[in-house]
């Protein structure tokens, strides 16, 4: 539901509030006066045709893209002021997986962990196994297939104890089991009070509180 209809007194401030976001890419306005918020325990799927600005929006949200106007609040405060707290509790996985091709999945995850939330080797192996990469822990990622690489990237979600997941087309190149698997992960995370914001073109079937934000018509339909 749009922020305006919400009563700030009753419920705690949502994790992320976007206010009057405006972004234009070479003369074309992608979205203007975009309001929405993301609270714990819900999943927001950003819909929209190709080139409608989903990726741009996600990158703006997590601060990778700065040419926009508008206000982004983290737990009610401007994100700029609480940046490190925000980053500490947010995980972003974009079009590019962020997996080094020379290192093995294990090493890749070890580094990611050290960047955000320390995780020991057991957790890492667990996470990889959870994503069906058992026995692939020590194969250089260059020798992994497209989908396997994507799985390595997704394993980050399990080891980072972030409350907000921002995923850009996480289902790409995943096979049927992989998709199921990820959908369960998302559901779990949301049911555990986490928040997920993702884009995908494939019909999502998660059993948790989920709504869609359609960029083709800038409004939230609950």
């Amino acid at each position: 539901m749009p922020t305006s209809q919400q009563n700030p007194a009753t419920d705690p401030p949502p994790l992320i509030q976007a206010q009057a976001l405006f972004c234009e890419r070479d003369e074309r306005i992608l979205f203007s006066d975009l309001h929405f918020d993301l609270t714990g325990g819900e999943l927001v799927q950003i819909k929209g045709s190709n080139g409608s600005g989903k990726t741009s929006l996600l990158r703006i949200l997590c601060g990778l893209n700065e040419d926009f106007s508008g206000e982004i609040l983290w737990k009610g405060e401007p994100v700029a002021e609480v940046r490190e707290d925000f980053l500490a509790s947010m995980t972003y996985i974009g079009h590019r997986a962020g997996v080094n091709r020379i290192l093995t999945p294990r090493e890749n995850l070890r580094w990611s962990a050290s960047l955000q939330a320390p995780a020991d080797d057991k957790q890492i192996v667990e996470a990889l196994g959870r994503l069906g990469l058992r026995a692939y822990e020590d194969i250089p990622c260059r020798n992994l297939s497209a989908g396997q690489t994507q799985r390595v990237a997704l394993a980050r979600l399990l080891i980072s104890r972030a409350s907000v997941w921002i995923l850009d087309e996480p289902f790409t190149t995943l096979d049927v089991h992989g998709v199921k698997n990820l959908e369960n992960l998302l559901a779990e995370h949301v049911s555990a009070g986490g928040a997920v914001m993702l884009t995908t073109h494939h019909p999502l079937s998660v059993n948790c509180k989920a709504r869609a934000l359609d960029l083709d018509q800038h409004r939230i339909n609950s």
Partner: protein, 236 residues
């Protein structure tokens, strides 16, 4: 950028571990590509031996230009190896992960720069006496050359890092990098080479070392900040 300090205070421990992890990671990557360790040395060797081929094998002439040649080659070697500093990370998206880390970027970038120096700078320093010999550098100048290189090459890595960070987003590499970095690095080159040539003619060189040291200190404090800012811009 300047809130780097505060954050460090907030969670110093994990900053330190992130620093180490990043350093280790880059070193591991280099070790896995074994020739990443070999190449800087070989390149240095080859480039240095290009000059006698191009100029002349005459010892007298060579010994005169030797200091400059060694320094220019070192400069080029560390510059060519710069390309591997952020490029792969940018292409596979690791760089975004780096930028999205709650840790102060200053230290992560510093870690990457140190790794780069250990891989590409240090070997060159160690090898330089041999090449100096092949170029008939007077033996009394050896120590000066090694020391200037030891202080100078880290500066090259640190300045170079800024250049790579600025250009990592662009399609074309190599040259634009060189064009940005070389001017930044020339002062170091001039002072370093000057120190060596001065020793050869028996002049005092303390001032040169002082200057190089000052530049190094400056680079250590400022360059990583600049690189970090540049990375933010390129990824944007």
């Amino acid at each position: 950028m300047n809130n780097a300090r505060e954050i460090q205070d907030i969670k110093g421990v994990s900053t330190w571990s992130a620093f180490c992890a990043t350093l280790r990671r880059d070193l591991v990557i280099a070790l896995k590509r074994r020739n990443d360790l070999l190449n800087p040395i070989m390149f240095f060797l080859i480039v240095v031996s290009l000059f006698p081929l191009g100029i002349s094998p005459d010892p007298v002439e060579l010994s005169r230009v030797s200091a400059g040649v060694v320094w220019v080659s070192a400069l080029l070697a560390s510059m060519l190896s710069l390309d591997n500093l952020y490029r792969a990370d940018y292409e596979d998206g690791s760089l975004e992960q780096l930028l999205l880390s709650p840790q102060p970027l200053y230290f992560l970038v510093l870690a990457k720069n140190i790794a780069h120096w250990l891989i590409s700078g240090l070997p060159v320093v160690i090898l330089s006496p041999l090449l100096a010999y092949m170029l008939y550098l007077p033996s009394e100048a050896y120590w000066t050359m090694v020391l200037t290189l030891l202080i100078g090459t880290p500066v090259l890595s640190l300045f170079g890092s800024i250049g790579v960070a600025l250009t990592v987003g662009l399609g074309s590499r190599g040259l634009i990098l060189a064009v940005i970095v070389l001017p930044l690095a020339t002062p170091v080159l001039i002072i370093g080479a000057k120190a060596v040539t001065d020793v050869m003619v028996g002049l005092p060189v303390g001032s040169h070392f002082a200057l190089l040291g000052a530049i190094l200190a400056l680079a250590l404090t400022m360059a990583p900040l600049a690189s970090a800012a540049a990375l933010r811009i390129s990824v944007n």
